[in-house]
């Protein structure tokens, strides 16, 4: 199942990333980026990093992308640009999505027994969960990088302020 999932979502991520670069309309690019983020989340999850997968969806696919789309919409507040969309997408879009959905359902149903081990917190099978280990690393060995990230964010905010100003 691992290999099948990796192939499907790896390919999906690459194709969506290419599509993001090739699209002319910013909203289409942004939506392709959502697909990239989602596919990456599945890859993380299949590697056993459940927390990272959840964070990926919440932070990137959720928060960051909403911000992107908002900014694009606010910047294009004037005349809305209409695109017809590509022909391939309108013909093959729904059948393709349905095919991938069926394929995934088939894979999941076939491997039902292997599912059900995903856990975000607490102990399971006597081992520390993902979240516990991440928290442990963040507050012991990687405490300083974690804290100094605040300076990084501060510099980024300061930079955004400088760039956004009109006058010097």
């Amino acid at each position: 199942m691992q290999i099948a999932l990796f192939t499907i979502f790896g390919l999906l991520a690459v194709i969506a990333a290419l599509n993001m670069l090739l699209q002319r309309h910013p909203i289409n690019s942004a939506l392709s980026l959502v697909v990239v983020m989602m596919s990456l989340a599945v890859l993380y999850w299949s590697l056993g990093a459940e927390f990272l997968a959840a964070a990926q969806i919440i932070v990137y696919a959720g928060a960051v992308m909403v911000l992107f789309v908002f900014v694009v919409m606010l910047l294009n507040a004037g005349e809305e640009q209409r695109t017809k969309g590509s022909k391939i997408a309108s013909i093959a879009g729904f059948p393709g999505a349905a095919a991938i959905f069926c394929l995934l359902t088939f894979i999941f149903l076939k491997n039902r027994a292997a599912l059900g081990n995903t856990q975000l917190s607490g102990l399971y099978n006597g081992a520390e969960s993902n979240l516990t280990r991440i928290a442990h690393a963040l507050f012991t060995n990687l405490l300083l990088p974690f804290e100094v990230t605040s300076v990084l964010v501060l510099v980024a905010i300061l930079g955004a302020v400088v760039l956004a100003r009109k006058e010097l």
């Binding site: 060995n141 300083l144 990088p145 100094v148 300076v151 990084l152 501060l154 006058e167 010097l168």
Partner: protein
């Protein structure tokens, strides 16, 4: 004071000063001069230098300090770079205090960005954990991306900033990928455990790939060829004092990371990375010097010269561990002194609007500004490597280190390149000291050199001269700076 606080003292001082500058900025009414904030920033960089000195006393008495679960290691090596970065930042701030022509409203942000950038660079030099290095690298990079585009409203400034940002982020991704691969090969991102892990790893190919990736990432940051393409465009568009800063301090920090990573982290792969370093060094020296030959813009010329100097510095890496560290440290210090000095002179001559740019504009400068011309000439001679300047001993140590370790051909290529370099430096020098043409510098208004800028110029000139006449003082310091391997730390990664 606890060990943890003590190990972070210079960075803490700079961060607090930076935050203070940002907090005080809105308090000063609009239209008022922002100079007090500049003085505050200068005070902060001075204090952080003193803090680094204090660390040196402690390290001399108690030996190497490690803090924060062995993320930070304070030894003479990191203290040397802390002092160097603090000095470069101090001189840059002094030089840019009167750089802005009218009292602009947002100069406070400029000072804060310089200070925060220095925090990142310092973290890069004192950290033995690659994730920490990455955070430091990002802090210093982001602040320099913004500073490069600070002359808003000019096309070259925007080009400079956006080009630096896009290519820089791309290069950082390579570095990060390298860190991920080295974690895959050794199971750690700390320098000591990496060395220990490489000894028993079964996937050396992955580790070699990782080292190559890290080399690409850091090669971009030090503008080593073939990752140098951004340099001339970025330097051309960025404000001159900022170029002085970003061509020296972040590069010094990146070289410090390279020294630690290559010699302490991956000594097992010496045979592999030495070849890559040689290629980078030869390419940087040749492309830098040949590219500089046909430049007309002085900042572009100095940009190509900085590529070439990155090449000379990489030659130092071919020596033995101790020679490499001593040579590279000495060279970064001399290069910082003379390059910051040269860009300070440029900023004083052409001001914020940069009216004089090309070599033709400098024709006959000596008649109009004899003092400035003499200073610029002195820095150019030092960049060539004339005896009695710091540049001479810098090259001497670098090449002698390479020769001692049997890299004769690298020394020959380096010396041949130094010969080529004479042409373009002397072309600029000849223009300065030739008869002025009708449309040249004679019509440029003279900007008065203010006291802080004069202090900054004097400091860089004295440092360049001092390193050329009495190099021994620094040599003794840098020869002690060879970082010890962190194998002892590796055994007990969580000792506190």
């Amino acid at each position: 004071m606890s060990t943890n606080l003590l190990a972070l003292l210079p960075e803490l001082v700079l961060t607090i000063t930076g935050v203070l500058v940002m907090v005080l900025e809105p308090v000063i009414p609009a239209g008022k001069s922002r100079k007090p904030l500049g003085w505050l920033a200068i005070l902060g960089s001075l204090l952080s230098g003193l803090a680094a000195f204090y660390q040196l006393q402690i390290v001399n008495a108690q030996g190497t300090l490690t803090a924060f679960y062995s993320t930070i290691q304070i030894d003479p090596f990191s203290i040397f770079f802390h002092l160097l970065i603090a000095a470069v930042v101090l001189v840059t701030l002094l030089g840019s205090l009167d750089y802005f022509e009218s009292p602009i409203t947002h100069a406070g942000e400029y000072f804060a960005l310089v200070l925060f950038g220095a925090v990142g660079m310092m973290f890069m030099t004192s950290s033995v954990e690659l994730l920490m290095v990455f955070i430091g690298l990002e802090i210093s990079s982001i602040s320099t991306y913004i500073l490069a585009g600070f002359r808003k409203g000019r096309a070259t400034a925007s080009e400079s900033s956006i080009k630096y940002f896009l290519l820089g982020s791309f290069a950082t991704a390579f570095f990060l990928y390298g860190v991920a691969l080295i974690y895959g090969a050794t199971g750690s991102t700390s320098i000591g455990p990496i060395a220990a892990g490489l000894a028993i790893t079964r996937t050396p190919t992955m580790a070699i790939l990782a080292v190559a990736m890290v080399l690409i990432g850091l090669g971009f940051k030090v503008s080593a060829a073939p990752f140098h393409v951004w340099t001339p465009d970025v330097y051309q568009g960025a404000p001159a004092p900022v170029v002085g800063l970003m061509s020296t301090a972040p590069k010094a920090a990146a070289f410090a990371v390279l020294l630690r990573f290559l010699f302490n982290g991956t000594p097992m792969l010496h045979g592999h990375w030495i070849l890559l370093i040689e290629i980078l060094a030869v390419a940087s020296m040749c492309l830098g010097n040949l590219g500089a030959l046909k430049q007309h813009d002085v900042k572009r010329l100095l940009a190509y010269s900085s590529i070439a100097h990155a090449g000379y510095l990489l030659v130092a890496f071919t020596g033995t561990h101790q020679n490499a560290v001593a040579g590279a440290c000495f060279y970064t210090a001399t290069y910082a002194a003379m390059n910051v000095g040269a860009f300070l002179v440029l900023s004083q001559l052409s001001g914020f609007s940069e009216r004089i740019r090309s070599i033709e504009d400098f024709t006959g400068l000596a008649l109009k500004r004899p003092g400035m011309s003499a200073l610029l000439g002195f820095f150019l001679l030092s960049l060539i490597g004339i005896p009695f300047t710091g540049g001479f001993f810098g090259k001497f140590y670098v090449f002698s280190g390479a020769l001692q370790n049997g890299h004769v051909w690298l020394g020959i290529v380096g010396l041949a390149n130094s010969g080529v370099a004479c042409f373009y430096y002397l072309r600029l020098l000849a223009a300065i000291y030739s008869r002025p043409t009708s449309d040249s510098v004679a019509y440029i208004p003279v900007r008065k050199v203010t006291a802080p800028a004069a202090v900054a110029l004097a400091a860089t000139a004295l440092a360049t001269l001092g390193l050329g006449i009495l190099p021994n003082k620094l040599v003794h310091l840098v020869e002690r700076a060879t970082p010890t391997t962190t194998a002892a730390v590796a055994v007990q990664p969580t000792q506190q």
